[in-house]
Symmetry: D3
Subunit: 259 residues, 6 copies
């Protein structure tokens, strides 16, 4: 079975640089996958991406060694299983507020006896096991990474019990929602002391439990800080933001120079 | 009928800043259309865009005041008419090598008696004339801009006869192909004297004939130079290039800082 | 932030005329959006429309001042949030049987502290706030309209508690399902006394609670009656019905005349 | 091989009522196909329909006994052959200006020795011959109907030579373009004497040559008149027109009654 | 209303041969539907098929007398209702672990008073009732087949209570998951005594309760054995497996012969 | 630049086994690409595949080392260039009847000075040159294979002049059309002496001119014979045929055993 290179890097303590896709477009995703990210996450929560576009993007990522992740819109076992069957090698679940949600997330993504994932890898066996579903079944629970998002008051309050759920690989901090939940304006690089403290305590708790810690950022500088703090995976700006900013900058420069 | 703002600006001597879409994605195009370009061109020649995606992108652009253009893959009257019927307000035709091709291009895009465009505006009447096909028919030939690309040895040699075709609004220089045609490496900001001279002579000829001159560039600095030289419309970098460069830059900066 | 014109009309006591889309087609929706409806609802429950077509239709509606609504297939927070992030300005939730379902519906669609909507407006910021997600966040809870459908025995029985859920803007009556639930044949203009009485009592309860009342109809005549009764928003026939009836009528007339 | 019911009716002198699809939507086409038309034409010229949507619409029509036709955007042999391979049972070719174009049209759609259609029916064998490509090959040239549009000055002038092309089944009049070509405003029920006379003379010429005559109309009344004049096939209003008119009528009636 | 031929065969004791679609492709499904299966199931659980492709496949199947079934990814009432509204004549629900899940499945798929299916058949009325939604409503609960999958430890333990749910038509065994659940390697033709015994006891229980028994197989030989054991419906290999095996066999044979 | 492995094998005299895709489905194509073919051809002539599906299939093939080819529907330079820009590494052009058509085919696919291919590789640079369009431009003319189909009377008669066109890599025989052209029934393994002789003479002429010879077959046995005769590339059965035959065989076997 194809090894999950992101998992190997995380274990090895190397920074994992994650890209982010919100465009429902296999070509833009293929372009992203060629830019050097370790992992590329298909955002099915806030991104404009439905299931079939997600599969097309998984295929686009498979033309490169970049590791394909997906963020699901909700803790719905049906879609989680479909994404794993389509070849996702990591899932990020939003709004994990307590151990019960975390447990359902993990159980939906692991085969029996650990969980209740239904057997029928489809495209996943092409992607990872040369078409052998038996080889896939033997290794999938080991290779696939599962991250629970900590981004609500409840999730933060129940952090310890969430981290205690066996089979969960890590936590993923959404600084925007976490800020809102704590009464601060949404930010990808929050400076509110309460939010700063919350992020730090999630990181420390994750380390104490031997889990990976991941976080959304607003770009390279914040990511560097996060890696230094001890986060294993940092997400840079997504495709929509990158494209909008780059385009606007060119238009504004051109207008400024052409008056 | 909705006025073609780009045409008004060209007549008025104001710089027209053109964006470029190669992604077959209505959402990325909608993002582009909100960044301040005067016009946005759907590249059906080298871009990965088929007819139905082009229509979806025309719709996305229609959510903004940006003026929708399209570049066709070839001088095929069928597709030209379909794009106009879908609401394009400007067409760019590649590889116009002589007056016969230019004439066919113009004739396919103008109603009788000037040309042979078939009557049946469809989405175009929603976009531009509140659903009235009669209003559309009365104004379309006037509002829609037609640019012939000069980018081959033949096109350059036959420049005068091409510029003489009635109803052609302007010429559009493809510096990449023109460089190749003249034996130089392809470049969007060519410095080869032969190519520099060719571009200058196309510009002068266009002005002499009272046609607009448009050109592809590699970004704001070259665009500024082109506008100063007298070009009316300059194309900045396309969506694929903008996205790839912005993503790669973030990855490289992050890796450089996180070692 | 772009104002919700339907909300302004409802507050002002002006009739809101709602169109209905069941075809998974951005072009037919764009045609509908140009016919003068105040609002246009994408029916993801009984209509043949999945998420990505819904986004394409939201884009089509955005080419006009018509206000975009969507009806979700079920009280699934994931899809509700995705539709709001894609720019819906109103949501209609079917089969709201009790206050708990109503509360989950409202909470999924409002940001903290009122609810738990996750922060990440995407296309919504282009549509409504010139790309500023902060402006969107500040106004979204105020502008977006939420309607709970009353159409089951339970929903009717629990009407008072449903109307008491803070943040719910109104109720929407589905006369077809309500008829079935009360043992009558499904109808969009029911005459069964029990159904007539139920509709009247929902309307009165809504007014008592200061909520808007909306209802499905079978066309202009019933809509007129409903507006006179005090309903604020009436839905006319949907695209499939309009198309089928108009086509069949032409065929039958032609055959009758051409024998 | 499945019989072409429209051809049988034409031979039998029964009126063939033709519907018209401009929406790129298999569901709206399936709705249309259930309304009683004899034939349903996919308009790939002015309609917003590309090749793959056309195939989906052909499939939708195949759920009914309605006979599937397509109008191509231009006399391009590649697309003509693809549509026949996908199961079209009739093709309408626009802007047939002379015998050479008519000959190329016919030759592209008939197998050797009559023409040069390439052998490889694909979906067509499922639709018409229970999967047997040999059965299809034996009967296709006989069952498939080919109509040349007469709608330009040249086409009208060269009518006799066009009608003389062997293998052409009929002519199809586009009154809108023909009006424009003759200097009259475009109309689907023209009253300009020159256009009226032209239509009559095309009809008479077709009859003289033993060809079928078909024509676009603006609805049942004009269709009735055309059938009485001797036309074999009349096209009623298309899906976009039907939908837009029916929707606008409901909105206007509702507003008028609800003031 | 169109009769469910599969239901008639099951009642009559004739073997129902079921095909399986995992490709999100209406053309491959149309090809499958022409090969003689009694029923064809769209696998939305492990297959790579989203909602809109499922509708396109339902349309493709409707070009033949083959009866369309779908397997849903999870016991989500929203999607179940949408598939029935799109014309599915049978649903298979995975991972039915207890009577509560079975009850929710049945209730979502039956109209009041038996269940809570919302009224609004859309494409279903075209498929089965010539466009009459009243005719559809009268017969749908009777014609549509509902199968609960027994494939987990819990489902097996709670078999009796599941079979006791009124309105459930049958059980469907997933031998792969059932094997995994019982600690055996996944297999479509299991030989592990514990799995063999479990399958036999599910079959006997179904017969005792007067329910139909259905099962997945690995092809004709196992299907024959299952029919002889008393199963009423057997699923053969799916499209992906059929295509992969047939292609690989041709490549290997060619290479073996061409060395 | 990524090497064209098929070209290397042809030069080396190793048999090139070609697969054939007619389904407009990236998943089925990805399945095909994993079965061991050297090359996989997207059939845009008789297959049900439009441009955007072709790009999605090129992407699917890029997840494997299989070399992507496409057959175009007609000698239209626009589509040829778009397919090369999307990453095709070989093109097959149907109905090449004379040297002029062959010359246009080659010229459209080679950069100046040899041809007039327009510069703007897009996805092609991701596929083959790590994003460097300069590297692509330098090697593309060398790596990309161009095959002219000989399948008409004219093509056969003009074989020598066609083979003399510089830059053409080979000829591809379509036995079905060639049979029809010579008055024999269409067959992929023709036994008619005139067709047998024609195929042999094309092969000999190709060898004399130092061109590769390729041919369509009906499966492994015929392919073996063709390789022995000296053909370099043989096409096995396409996806539609493979799937239909495999499915029908399972249904028939099951019915035969289950009576």
């Amino acid at each position: 079975m194809r090894q999950n290179l992101a998992r190997a890097k995380l274990i090895d303590g190397q920074p994992v640089v994650n890209g982010w896709c919100s465009l429902p477009c296999a070509y833009s995703a293929e372009v992203m996958a060629h830019q050097g990210y370790d992992t590329l996450t298909i955002d099915m929560q806030h991104g404009a991406i439905g299931y079939e576009s997600a599969v097309a993007i998984l295929r686009a990522i498979s033309t490169t060694p970049t590791v394909p992740f997906a963020r699901v819109p909700w803790h719905d076992p049906g879609l989680m299983m479909k994404l794993l069957d389509a070849g996702a090698y990591g899932l990020i679940c939003p709004m994990v507020n307590n151990a019960a949600i975390a447990e359902q997330f993990v159980a939906a993504c692991r085969y029996p006896p650990r969980g209740f994932r239904s057997f029928g890898p489809n495209r996943a066996t092409l992607y990872s096991a040369a078409g052998s579903s038996a080889a896939y079944a033997a290794a999938a629970d080991h290779e696939i990474l599962l991250f629970a998002m900590i981004e609500t008051r409840d999730g933060f309050a129940n952090l310890e019990e969430i981290l205690g759920v066996p089979g969960l690989d890590g936590v993923y901090i959404g600084p925007g929602d976490l800020s809102l939940a704590l009464g601060a304006p949404p930010s990808m690089a929050p400076s509110e002391p309460s939010v700063v403290a919350a992020i730090a305590s999630v990181l420390q708790a994750a380390k104490r439990h031997g889990r990976f810690a991941a976080v959304h950022t607003d770009g390279p500088a914040t990511a560097r800080d996060r890696f230094r703090e001890g986060f294993g995976l940092c997400t840079l700006q997504g495709d929509v933001r990158l494209l909008a900013d780059a385009a606007r900058k060119q238009v504004e420069e051109t207008r400024a120079m052409s008056r």
